[in-house]
């Protein structure tokens, strides 16, 4: 029976991720889209641990482990060296979390994109330093409680809005930029395959919900991923050759419904939910405007 998702599996069973991990699905789909001739560079992140201790591995592709801030530069070096070798048919992929991308790795990412290497940079966004124990990152959304933005006598939940790296990449002029999430695997895979057609840097931000850090039951990962899109908390878009395309959710839900699905937002009062809703609406309007330009 023909399937809409490539059947090839490059991720073996036996990984050590948490139950319901969104990041494992993100990797699995990306590799399905790209195939075996792929090398992945992974900095400090959940994915540096998921394959297990040496000599174990869970991916049937070469995987280079790097320090936190090194993803952008390492894929630059891999790409150029593979080209020197005559192996231009390899896909070179940086696969980093949101801390490794929005925070400590932003300079290295920006440099690599600016230089124009023919590489993929996949940011799997679980909105915090989840491998390290659920600390706040620049990509954590407004309202979220983390271990470094705890709600105690003072309600020190994250007071700043999410830094959206994909938007920064568009502003920088990266030729292919997209957002995706695991609840929509056909869309995710199609975007990776579209990116492959671009000879140059590609950036894809994949929302990868994390039951451990967002405090929802592991079996709800796909549902939470879907609600993030439906509530416009995480709009799906594709920006290629100067054309911007925004996906309209078919069954919109409110920000209130979204935040109620996760305990990390459970302390939020009506005013705070409204603040978040207003930011979500404001950003949606600005994305719609991008589409018309």
């Amino acid at each position: 029976m023909p399937t809409s998702i490539p059947e090839q599996e490059l991720m073996e069973p036996g990984h050590t991720a948490c139950q319901g991990c969104g990041a494992t699905l993100a990797m699995r789909y990306v590799l399905k889209a790209l195939g075996k001739k792929t090398v992945v560079s992974v900095p400090a992140s959940c994915w540096a641990v998921i394959p297990g201790a040496m000599p174990n591995r869970t991916l049937d592709i070469p995987m280079v482990y790097t320090p936190f801030a090194a993803t952008g530069a390492s894929i630059s070096g891999l790409r150029e060296a593979l080209d020197i070798r005559g192996d231009s048919d390899y896909n070179v992929v940086g696969f980093a979390g949101d801390g490794g991308t929005a925070d400590i790795g932003l300079q290295s990412l920006s440099g690599a994109m600016e230089r124009g290497h023919n590489v993929f940079y996949i940011m799997y966004d679980n909105e915090g330093y989840m491998n390290t124990g659920v600390q706040r990152s620049g990509s954590t959304p407004y309202g979220a409680e983390t271990t470094t933005t705890p709600v105690g006598l003072d309600r020190n939940f994250k007071k700043q809005q999410k830094k959206v790296v994909a938007d920064i990449m568009m502003a920088q002029g990266v030729p292919y930029v997209a957002t995706a999430t695991i609840a929509y695997p056909e869309d995710l895979i199609r975007k990776v395959q579209n990116a492959k057609k671009v000879n140059g840097p590609k950036f894809i931000q994949i929302l990868a919900p994390c039951p451990t850090g967002w405090y929802y039951p592991p079996e709800k990962t796909i549902g939470v991923s879907r609600m993030a899109v439906q509530s416009r908390m995480f709009p799906l878009y594709e920006y290629s050759s100067g054309t911007f395309r925004l996906t309209r959710p078919s069954k919109p839900v409110t920000v209130r419904e979204y935040v109620q699905s996760q305990k990390r937002f459970s302390h939020m009062d009506e005013d705070e939910i409204r603040t978040l809703q207003e930011e979500v609406d404001r950003r949606w309007e600005s994305l719609l405007e991008k589409e018309t330009h």
Partner: protein, 392 residues
């Protein structure tokens, strides 16, 4: 000096180093500019533009990224090079450990320069001495010719299957980097005879997928891998001697081994130094010898692996040892001084004095060297700062 199959040219240390990179047939270069390293990478960029070297040059946005890029290119199987100085080397520190731990034989030039604040771009070894525990082989040159030759030897030594450790080659800021002297550039055929093509035992290959640097638990091979680095570093001492000998046979210049001894025979006072300060010390030793004072000089070429055996042997008949450091560990002493004392511990009762000199590019003059000898003769011990100004 025999000059077989070479042409002689007048060039700066940085130009000589760039020639060494060209002759080593490096395939990938990544660097970030920092004074006084800049003229190395400018020259290399020019060579790439003029197709004098078939390498790719990637201008990264930081030194951390420069080291991350060459880390990745070597894993993919391409001989790689970078260069830096001072703050840039410090910024690389994390990646230095990463490269050594991954056992990648990258060669890097470091133009020794002070660390701020205050800002200071002049000669000082604090930058590279701060990296002594990273698992890189370290060598300090005293001439432009030596800087070029050492770079070529560096790839042979680092890529030796019994070593497989990265190689850091130092030259003094401005004194070598920007000062012209005569350099013999060997013919490519001779270098090719000396330095085989790059071939790692592993490289990125989708038909043989591997994890490069996956994690290890306390019971895993982590500790054994670190022990192996230590053993390889010790083994590299013999490889260095062997490769240096082969270099002299093929290319005609003999740098001895890990240290250079100058007038140490029968020397009562032995001063140990590295880099261009050693040249001044040798000159002063010659003068003092003519006056009947028994002074000898040891020039440390390789600081990693540390040449403990060579130093114990070369100093065994001395009455007093002095060590000149162009860096200092605050609250302890000169970096080299401390290591010399550790090497001599239990094997020698000879007193050792540490001289901290030339920090931040302060000139180390003939009279400073003479003062050191006089302080040794007067039985001075401990750590002494030389040529500091009382009113500052």
């Amino acid at each position: 000096m025999r000059e077989i199959g070479s042409k002689t040219s007048i060039m700066t240390g940085n130009e000589a180093v760039a020639e060494g990179v060209r002759l080593s047939k490096v395939g990938f270069i990544s660097a970030y500019p920092i004074t006084p390293q800049t003229t190395i990478v400018e020259k290399l960029a020019e060579m790439v533009a003029n197709r004098e070297i078939s390498a790719r040059y990637v201008e990264v946005e930081s030194e951390h990224s420069a080291m991350a890029a060459v880390f990745a290119s070597e894993i993919a199987g391409v001989r790689s090079y970078t260069a830096t100085s001072s703050q840039g080397l410090l910024y690389m520190h994390e990646m230095l450990h990463w490269v050594a731990g991954q056992r990648l034989p990258i060669v890097m030039s470091v133009v020794n320069r002070a660390i701020g604040p205050p800002w200071n771009i002049w000669s000082d070894q604090s930058d590279s001495m701060n990296q002594k525990d990273t698992g890189w082989i370290q060598v300090y040159s005293e001439s432009n010719q030596e800087a070029m030759d050492t770079l070529i030897m560096g790839y042979r030594i680092a890529e030796d299957s019994g070593v497989m450790l990265p190689f850091m080659s130092m030259e003094d800021a401005f004194i070598l980097s920007h000062t012209s002297e005569q350099v013999a550039i060997p013919d490519q055929e001779l270098v090719d005879e000396f330095l085989p093509e790059f071939r790692l035992g592993f490289k990125v290959d989708s038909d043989r997928p591997m994890g490069y640097g996956s994690y290890s638990t306390p019971d895993g091979p982590f500790m054994e891998l670190k022990k192996d680095m230590m053993e390889s570093m010790w083994k590299s001492a013999n490889v260095i001697k062997k490769v240096t000998r082969e270099f002299s046979e093929i290319l005609g210049r003999d740098y001895g081994g890990l240290i250079e001894e100058y007038m140490t025979e029968g020397a009562e006072y032995i001063l140990i130094a590295s880099g261009t300060v050693a040249s001044t010390a040798k000159y002063v030793a010659g003068k003092l010898r003519a006056d009947g004072r028994k002074v000898g000089i040891i020039r440390i070429r390789y600081f990693r692996p540390f040449p403990a055996e060579d130093i114990v042997r070369a100093t065994k008949d001395a009455a007093h040892i002095g060590v000149i450091d162009r860096s200092v560990s605050f609250g302890s002493g000169g970096t080299v001084f401390n290591e010399i004392r550790a090497a001599l511990y239990g094997r020698s009762d000879i007193p050792v004095t540490g001289f901290v000199a030339g920090i931040g590019g302060r000139d180390v003059r003939e009279e400073d060297i003479e003062e050191m000898i006089n302080l040794m003769a007067a039985g001075k011990e401990g750590t002494v700062f030389i040529n500091t100004r009382g009113d500052q």
